[in-house]
Structures are given as C-alpha cells and as structure tokens.
C-alpha cells in the first residue's frame, strides 16, 4: 500500500483535529471498513471520530463508496458524517 491522502470533514474533522493527512496503511488493510478500524486504533481522537462507524460516509477519489469498497489504487479517501446540504 502506498501513501494515501485522507481528508476529514465536519465533526469527523473536528474530532480528529486536522482536515487531512497522508498515511500509509499496512498491506492487510484492503477496504474502507478495515481502514476505519485501523485508524480507530491510532489514538483516542480517531476512536472518538469513528466510535459509531456505521454512520460514517466515505468517498474514494471524490466518489461515494460503501465500507466494503476496496482501497487499492485510491489516491484520496475522505470520511465525513451524513450530508446536510440544501
């Protein structure tokens, strides 16, 4: 797995404490759900952001994806709460 840009929005961003970062997940992290689980183990700010993982929405390279989406080849993965625009 190569370096991956992670972006966070709204309360996910506030809880983690930064808008984005570049990380290299271990090779056994293959999909979005596993990435969330891996991030949750990195510190309490991540555990807090992802405490209710099923409500977290994700996008790979700016397209909505589900948690079972593979992350191979992704350049940017974003995590955010359900959207409240309009």
């Amino acid at each position: 797995m190569s370096a991956l840009k992670l972006s966070y929005f709204a309360w996910v961003r506030e809880r983690i404490g930064r808008p984005d970062e570049t990380l290299t997940p271990p090779s056994d992290v293959t999909n979005v759900g596993e990435l969330i689980a891996w991030l949750s183990g990195r510190g309490e700010e991540y555990a807090y952001a992802f405490e209710n993982a099923k409500v977290i929405r994700a996008a790979i390279d700016r397209q909505h994806v589900k948690h079972d989406a593979p992350i191979a080849g992704a350049r940017e993965i974003a995590f955010f709460p359900p959207m409240t625009g309009g």
């Binding site: 996008a59 959207m83 409240t84 625009g85």
Partner: protein
C-alpha cells in the same frame, strides 16, 4: 434534448432573476421555469448564523451528476444549481435550483428531484452558531431526506 446545465459552488449570494434570464433569454422554446430557493432560517430567533462546510471538487461533481441525471430523465432545456458555502445569516440564500422545460410537469419534477438528491449526495455540512454564544452543533441528517430521494427510484 441537450439541456444547458450550470453548477456553481460559491460563497457569494446569487441573483435568482439573473439566473432565470440566463436560461430563458434569446430563446422561444422555454414554456416553464421552476425555481427553488433554500434560505437560512433563524430557528425562532435562536440562530446567529449557519456555517456551511463542503468538500471542494466533490461537491461540484456530485451536483453536476444529479443535474445530468435529471436532464436524462426529463425533457429539460436547462438546469442550474448553485450552492453557497461559508457563513450564511438568517434570511440569506443557501441554495438555488432552476429547471426549464417546454412544459411545466417536467420542470416541477426535475427541480424537486435535483433538490432531493442534492441533499443526500452533495458533500455539504451545516453547523449552527447559536445567538446565545454557546458552542454550535452540527445539523443532523434527517431520515426523511433519504426517503425523499429514494422515492425517485434511481
């Protein structure tokens, strides 16, 4: 029918009359213009402002996708969607959707479809800044918005 589609994500306010004119001027085939404008409510006087956060790039892409889907589904002549970001005060505009068509039904339905999908797919989040100076809360998504979008059965 090749619809004239315009999507903009901007902090500045928009001018509804000018946006309508951009879809109607110089052509005689438009028989119906439907506009929807979403405004910031004051929540019974308790709200100082809304802060609208968005995901640059993806917000444009998603709204454009929704407008293009509408243009495939209904015989539209034009569709405009403008969404503001940043701080918005009560009474100010947040979002504008315009659909134009030869006939009213397509314009009504397409405008509603674009709004329903924009709410559930476009990456925007609202944070409330209360007037009493307390820490603002992020607005929670409503299940009713998901069901409103699902009824179109895309």
């Amino acid at each position: 029918m090749d619809a004239q589609i315009r999507v903009a994500i901007q902090h500045e306010d928009f001018d509804v009359a000018r946006e309508i004119e951009a879809l109607t001027q110089g052509r005689g085939d438009v028989g119906a213009v439907v506009t929807f404008t979403g405004l910031c409510r004051d929540e019974a006087g308790t709200l100082e402002a809304l802060e609208l956060e968005h995901y640059p790039g993806m917000a444009e892409d998603e709204i454009l996708r929704v407008a293009q889907q509408a243009a495939q589904r209904w015989p539209l002549l034009g569709a405009t969607a403008i969404h503001r970001y940043g701080k918005v005060l009560p009474g100010e505009n947040i979002v504008l959707v315009i659909a134009t068509s030869p006939h009213r039904r397509a314009a009504f339905e397409a405008a509603e479809f674009i709004m329903d999908y924009l709410k559930t797919r476009a990456p925007f989040w609202k944070k409330e800044h209360p007037r009493d100076g307390s820490i603002g809360e992020w607005v929670e998504a409503k299940d009713v918005d998901d069901s409103a979008a699902e009824r179109w059965d895309v």
